[in-house]
């Protein structure tokens, strides 16, 4: 992130933090800005009670506006963190938003992660009636992210022997999961990129957990939001008891992505395979960029791709286009 983006974000975060009006002196003033995230697809700077986020360059402005409006809608209260008002609209051509500061999941203690809270929030999100929200709500971007991960792998690690395995697993996915056709299921409001970094407690430090980051939110197959934990479980990385806790809490909260009491894999299979391929593709791209071999955990996901690549042919559930 360039210094000018940091400075502009720090100004935006300070504005947002001070907007509630005159109050006790802001303890963040006079200190260095805290950069919470610095990635090409999102930079986040904190000032006291607020953070400002510069979204990815090239963000679709209409989709972005609709997603922010959904996060701000009262129907999403208690599910998504709502945005703060902000005077600035963009920084160096990137859309900027402001949000209340919330406490993230402790990355040093993933065993204490709020799996049940995440599942219940997703179930509630998926049950929101999209027709009651401002629109038009764009499609959920999960398949687009998977396709982008494959593009990254092709650019960074096309020659790695495992890249061919990942490609074979990718080819076996239906067109909609590769972002090459419309999703057959576009009924539910989905987060689109669930992982443990997408939860914060607000108000800090002990408020309820809320979902953050609406950049990939939209209409789609709600099973996609369960697919990353499902992929970790299927790869042998996520312990079965944690997976059961997550899925059980989702079902108990009437989450519509799977049928309560039934085998969830008919619904999870395609999205979980897509997330497995996406994770393996990014692992190959990252390990190539760092001039190292994939580690054990990355290898477990690549191994899952190898098993997907040699599955026998199955019934196709989509009509040919």
């Amino acid at each position: 992130m360039t210094a000018s983006v940091v400075r502009a974000l720090a100004d935006a975060a300070r504005d947002a933090a001070h907007l509630p009006g005159p109050r006790a002196a802001c303890r963040a003033c006079g200190r260095d800005e805290a950069v919470l995230a610095d990635r090409a697809d999102g930079a986040v700077v904190r000032h006291g009670e607020a953070v400002a986020k510069a979204h990815a360059p090239g963000t679709d402005p209409n989709g972005h506006r609709a997603r922010i409006a959904v996060a701000a809608h009262p129907r999403l209260a208690g599910i998504l963190l709502p945005p703060l008002p902000l005077r600035v609209r963009d920084v160096c051509g990137r859309p900027v938003t402001a949000w209340p500061y919330g406490v993230p999941v402790d990355a040093a203690d993933p065993d204490a992660a709020p799996w049940e809270d995440a599942a219940v929030l997703l179930a509630r999100l998926h049950r929101v009636e999209p027709a009651a929200l401002p629109g038009p709500i764009p499609p959920m971007r999960g398949p687009a992210k998977a396709a982008r991960a494959l593009a990254r792998m092709r650019a960074a690690a096309a020659d790695h022997p495992a890249a061919a395995t990942v490609e074979r697993a990718w080819e076996r996915l239906p067109a909609w999961a590769r972002d090459e056709a419309e999703s057959p299921r576009r009924s539910a409001l989905c987060h689109g990129d669930l992982h443990l970094g997408q939860l914060v407690r607000h108000p800090a430090p002990a408020g309820p957990w809320l979902l953050i980051d609406v950049d990939d939110l939209g209409l789609g197959d709600p099973a996609w939001d369960l697919a990353r934990p499902a992929a970790w479980y299927a790869a042998g990385l996520l312990p079965p008891e944690i997976w059961q806790r997550f899925l059980g809490a989702y079902s108990a909260a009437d989450g519509p992505a799977v049928r309560a009491g039934a085998d969830p894999w008919p619904q999870l299979d395609v999205p979980a395979r897509a997330l497995t391929v996406q994770t393996a593709a990014l692992a190959l791209a990252k390990s190539a960029a760092e001039h190292r071999d994939p580690d054990d955990v990355e290898q477990a996901v690549i191994d899952a791709c190898a098993r997907i690549a040699c599955l026998p042919p199955e019934l196709e559930f989509e009509p040919p286009s």
């Binding site: 990355a107 040093a108 059961q244 894999w265 990014l282 199955e314 196709e316 989509e318």
Partner: protein, 93 residues
């Protein structure tokens, strides 16, 4: 075999030991005599499976996909490095 509806070729697939013909054109499905009953029986076996024991320590083996890892090691095992690497994966897009 040809599809009786659109006359495209039918391909044979195996689902839980039941042979199923699916049309390569309209994706219609043809079941032989007794196959629907076999599928219904398999389905009722699934729904009649005993509920998981209530004791919290006894997690039944969760259903997993055909391509799942043969054994679940879990993120807790395999040493500090493996835990750290999986920890990073838990938090990244």
């Amino acid at each position: 075999m040809q599809c009786p509806k659109c006359h495209a070729a039918m391909h044979t697939y195996n689902r839980n030991g039941v042979q199923i013909e699916q049309c390569s054109g309209c994706r219609g499905i043809f079941l032989d005599y007794g196959e629907l009953e076999s599928l219904t029986r398999l389905e009722s076996q699934w729904t009649q499976a005993p509920p998981p024991p209530s004791a919290p320590q006894a997690y039944p083996s969760a259903p997993a996909p055909a391509w799942g890892a043969p054994q679940h090691h879990g993120g807790h095992h395999g040493g500090h490095h493996r835990q750290k690497s999986f920890g990073r994966m838990l938090f990244s897009s």
